[in-house]
Subunit: 238 residues, 2 copies
C-alpha cells in the first residue's frame, strides 16, 4: 500500500438489495480474520435514481444526473476508485467516467477477465441480462472482442421470465423472483449453453434461492467486480 490509503467507492442503489449482495461478496472475496483486515468501502446507496431499464427503452427520465451526483459524493468522500454493482448502469459508464476524478472499474472487463481465466476451450456462454443491457450490446461487444461465443434470451423469455423475475427480487419477493429467473437460466441451457453469465445483479440472488446448483456453472459479474476491487485495494490496479 502506498502513502494514500485506498478506499473503494460503491455507487449503489440499483437496486439497494443487489448493492448489499455486492458488499457481501467483497467480504467473502477476502478471507479476513479480523474486522481491520476487510476492504474499506464507502457506499452511496441512494435508490432515488430514475429506472435504468425504462430509460434505455426510451420511456423514462434520464438517470445520469442522479448517478453523477453519487459519483461526485464518492469522490468527495475520498474514494480512490469506484465500482458500480449494476450491469445495466454501465450503459452510462463512459459518461460517468468523464465526470469522475478517480477511475471507475468496468463490470464487463472484470467478467471477461474471469471468463478467460476459467475458459476450458469451447461451449456457449448463456448471457442473462436486462433488455436494456442487451440492446446496448454491453456484454456482446466485449465477449466478441475476447473470442467468446454466447447465446442470449429470446424476447419472449425476457418478457415472461427474466423481467418479472428481476422486478420481483427488487420488491424483496425472493421466492417468486428465484423461480422465474431459474426458468430463464434453464431455457438457455436447453438451447445449448454450457455455462452462464448472470449479468444482472438480481439473478444470483434468485438462483441462490431457487436453483443453487446452477451457480457452479455460472460467472457472477458482481463477484468478478468484487475481485477487481480487491486487486485495486491490494495492488492499486484499476
Amino acid at each position: 500500500m502506498g502513502g494514500t490509503p485506498r478506499l473503494i467507492g460503491v455507487l449503489g442503489g440499483m437496486g439497494p438489495l443487489a448493492t448489499l449482495d455486492f458488499l457481501h461478496k467483497l467480504l467473502q472475496a477476502r478471507a479476513a480474520l479480523r474486522d481491520q483486515d476487510h476492504v474499506p468501502t464507502v457506499t452511496w446507496n441512494v435508490p432515488q435514481i430514475p429506472d435504468r431499464q425504462q430509460a434505455l427503452a426510451g420511456r423514462g427520465e434520464d438517470p445520469l444526473p442522479a448517478m453523477a451526483e453519487g459519483v461526485a459524493r464518492l469522490n468527495a468522500a475520498g474514494a480512490t476508485c469506484i465500482a458500480i454493482p449494476c450491469n445495466t448502469a454501465h450503459a452510462w459508464h463512459s459518461a460517468l467516467s468523464a465526470r469522475s476524478r478517480v477511475p471507475i472499474l468496468h463490470i464487463v472487463d472484470a467478467t471477461v477477465q474471469t471468463l478467460l481465466a476459467g475458459h476450458r476451450g469451447g461451449g456457449h456462454i448463456g448471457l442473462i441480462a436486462t433488455r436494456g443491457a442487451l440492446d446496448q450490446g454491453l456484454y456482446q461487444s466485449r465477449l466478441e472482442a475476447a473470442g467468446l461465443d454466447y447465446l442470449i434470451p429470446t424476447p419472449q423469455d425476457l418478457d415472461t421470465l427474466f423481467t418479472p423475475g428481476c422486478y420481483a427480487i427488487k420488491a424483496n419477493d425472493i421466492a417468486t423472483g428465484g423461480r422465474l429467473l431459474a426458468r430463464s437460466a434453464q431455457a438457455l441451457l436447453d438451447r445449448g449453453a454450457t455455462r452462464l453469465v448472470l449479468a444482472c445483479t438480481e439473478v444470483p440472488i434468485g438462483l441462490q434461492h431457487a436453483a443453487p446448483q446452477l451457480l457452479a456453472i455460472s460467472v457472477d459479474p458482481a463477484m468478478a467486480l468484487a475481485q477487481a476491487c480487491i486487486r485495486h485495494w491490494e495492488w492499486g490496479d484499476t
Copy 2:
C-alpha cells in the same frame, strides 16, 4: 418530506458484516415495492478502526479519531442524521455527537422505545452485550431509568461463550459463533430471563443461524435503530 432530501449516514465497520446486517434490516423495515421507495443511505464501512472492546478494557489504541473521521465524512457526504450499528461504539456517542453537525441517533434509546412499546408488565430482560458495553453501563442506566428489570451474563459466560462467539462471527465463522452465542443466550434464560436484548450486532447473526426460535423473544437493537432511521427519513425525527 421537507425541502432538503433526508439521507441516513451509517458509521459502519464495527464490524463490517454487522454493518451489512443493519443495512438489510433497513430494507426489511420498510415494505418497499420499488427500488426508489427504499431509504437512501451513505455508509462509511471502513473497518480500520482500533478494537473498541480492547480500548474499553484499557489495553488498546483509542478508536475515537478513526470514528470521528467517519462522522466527518458522512457529514461531508450530506447525511442528515447518523446511525452507528454497533452497541459498544456508543461508549463514544457523546464525543462523536459533539463533533457532528447532524444528530447521531442512540441505539439504546431506540431499543428502550421498542421495549416499552412491547412491554407486557413483568419478566426480566436478559441483556447480552460486550464486557466493554456492560462495564460502561451503556444499557443498564437507560433500562433502569425506564423502570425495566434485567440480568447480565456472568463473567465466566462472557469469557467462555460470548466473547469467543462474537469474534468467531467477526471472522465469518458463523457456525462456531452461532453455537457459542446460543449457549450464552440460553444461560440467561436458565437464570430466569423471559426475553432478550441482543445488544451486540454479531449476536442476531449467530442466533439466526444456530437458534432462530430465540429471535421471537428477542429485541434486536439494530432493528430498533433501523426503525428509528425510518422515522427520521419519513418524519424528520431524531
